[in-house]
């Protein structure tokens, strides 16, 4: 009986100890965390040579390359953000950026259009 009361008091002490601690959560839309350097967010393409190695390592088929029109598309609806394309790109053209707020009202917005070679041109 006394043993039980002792442990109940002990556990109460543990819980009350937390009353005086700072909250560990963040009020999200107002305050934001800065993602770490290696964070895998939205893939960004720059100076692509169109070699097509990313196509062969992408597990979900999110990348589409059309060499004739020199267009390079990444479908963010299909992308699983594994980072394979960025890791295996021989020219370092694909980078996983720190952008993580990707929700959109339009499905078309989620298909990223890039150009092969030369300067980038989005959409």
């Amino acid at each position: 009986m006394f043993k039980n009361i002792k442990y109940l008091l002990l556990s109460m002490f543990v819980v009350f100890k937390h009353l005086f601690k700072k909250p560990v959560t963040l009020e999200y839309p107002e305050k934001k965390i800065t993602p770490p350097k290696e964070f895998r967010g939205k893939p960004v393409v720059k100076n692509c040579k169109g070699c097509g190695i990313c196509l062969r390592v992408c597990p979900s088929g999110a990348i589409q390359i059309d060499k004739e029109n020199s267009s390079f598309k990444i479908d963010l609806k299909k992308c699983i953000f594994c980072g394979n394309c960025a890791y295996y790109c021989p020219h370092g053209a694909i980078k996983m950026s720190e952008e993580y707020e990707l929700a959109s009202n339009d499905k078309e917005d989620l298909i990223m259009n890039y150009r092969i070679g030369g300067v980038d041109e989005r959409n």
Binding site: H18, N84, Y87
Partner: protein, 361 residues
């Protein structure tokens, strides 16, 4: 007495995923239980037959999203062994470090949700707070919290960094685990809910193929880490308890977390001495395994995980099969819930640490 059929799940919050248990009740006693799995089936094994090895690698983390590193390591290991690649000591140590951190994170989540099932709310938040430390570290080194994709065939994506974070984690954790134990282990309500509930004797455990903590809490000393080549340099004692009940399984996981902390401190010692980072990466684009069958195993948080690959020398495996611990625990529910009260059903199934993505694959 007439029997009542009751569906527990598939949307029940205590089943950790979508497990449906078809229970037959006689009064308040369960007379039979039929687990119905497959709600989370993603075709993980079939997918492997279409994708090349490097394309399949990121998906492997998703088999058990609470312990992704284990499956990633298992898949990488199979390819490495098949091609005869040796890992350097530093790479091996890093892998052990991450596996053990992952094991702690997985057990912490189990602890929180198990206590939540029993009706205790505070431990859930405490466990998630500590788990967050570990996941933050994973995010720092690999880029994502759970779908790490950090191990590659022959080594790691990049050298390990921020080891001071790990030191910080293993400095904080023992205190926190003491807090949990003060809160839970001797708590009379917790003891009444778990002591003597869900008895799993040695023979049944063996016959049903149970592994991991569930087996060791029934008094059988079987830890596959003892035979693992990654753990050759590391000393540890497997946690073996003979309580056979839900309370013993809880205690086993708490003790295993403490054991993991000891392993991590040993690994940090190795990493301090072994500074040179060298690895023998292979070009994954034309990667094929020699014709034959390959089997590897590892001690995952929820029991033995093993993989079977049959290769015909082509770019993707001819057949790939996963063996996961939870699948066998779900099957055990038929036996272990028989004769138990409905009130205890959640406590018993929760104590087995069932994770549905691992069951359905």
């Amino acid at each position: 007495m007439s029997k009542l059929k009751l569906n527990l799940g598939p949307q029940h919050p205590s089943t950790h995923g979508v497990l449906r248990l078809i229970l037959e009740l006689e009064g308040e006693k369960i007379s039979s239980c039929e687990p119905d799995v497959g709600y989370l089936h993603r075709g993980m094994e079939k997918m492997a037959e279409k994708l090349s090895y490097i394309q399949y690698l990121p998906l492997v983390d998703r088999i058990d999203y609470l312990a992704g590193f284990f499956y990633s390591e298992l898949f990488c290991r199979t390819v490495e062994k098949a091609l005869g690649i040796e890992l350097s000591l530093r790479v091996k140590a890093v892998r052990v470090l991450l596996l053990e951190l992952n094991r702690i994170a997985s057990h912490l989540l189990w602890m929180g949700s198990f206590l939540m099932d029993l009706g205790a709310v505070s431990p859930f938040f405490y466990a998630f707070r500590e788990r967050e430390l570990i996941l933050k570290y994973f995010e720092k080194i690999s880029g994502q919290r759970m779908m790490n994709n950090y191990f590659v065939f022959g080594g790691l994506r990049r050298d390990i960094a921020f080891l001071e974070d790990v030191e910080n984690i293993i400095k904080i954790l023992p205190d926190k685990i003491r807090d949990y134990e003060n809160l839970i282990t001797e708590n009379p309500i917790f003891i009444q809910r778990t002591k003597g509930k869900g008895i799993l004797d040695k023979e049944t455990a063996f016959n049903f193929g149970i592994t991991g903590v569930n087996l060791r809490a029934s008094g059988i000393n079987l830890d596959f880490r003892k035979k693992d080549y990654l753990y050759e340099e590391i000393e540890f004692n497997p946690v073996v308890l003979d309580g056979c009940d839900a309370a013993a399984r809880y205690k086993g996981r708490i003790l295993e977390m403490k054991e993991s902390i000891k392993i991590i401190s040993q690994v940090l010692e190795i990493l301090r001495l072994e500074k040179e980072f060298k690895q023998q990466l292979i070009n994954p684009l034309n990667l094929t395994l020699p014709e034959g069958e390959y089997i590897q195993e590892i001690e995952a948080p929820r029991g033995l995980a093993s993989i079977y690959i049959k290769s015909t020398g082509e770019k993707s495996p001819y057949r790939l099969k996963w063996r996961t611990g939870s699948y066998y625990s779900v099957n055990l529910l038929r036996n272990i819930l028989k004769g138990a009260y409905l009130n205890d059903a959640i406590a018993i199934s929760g104590s087995l640490d069932i994770i549905l993505p691992e069951v359905d694959k």
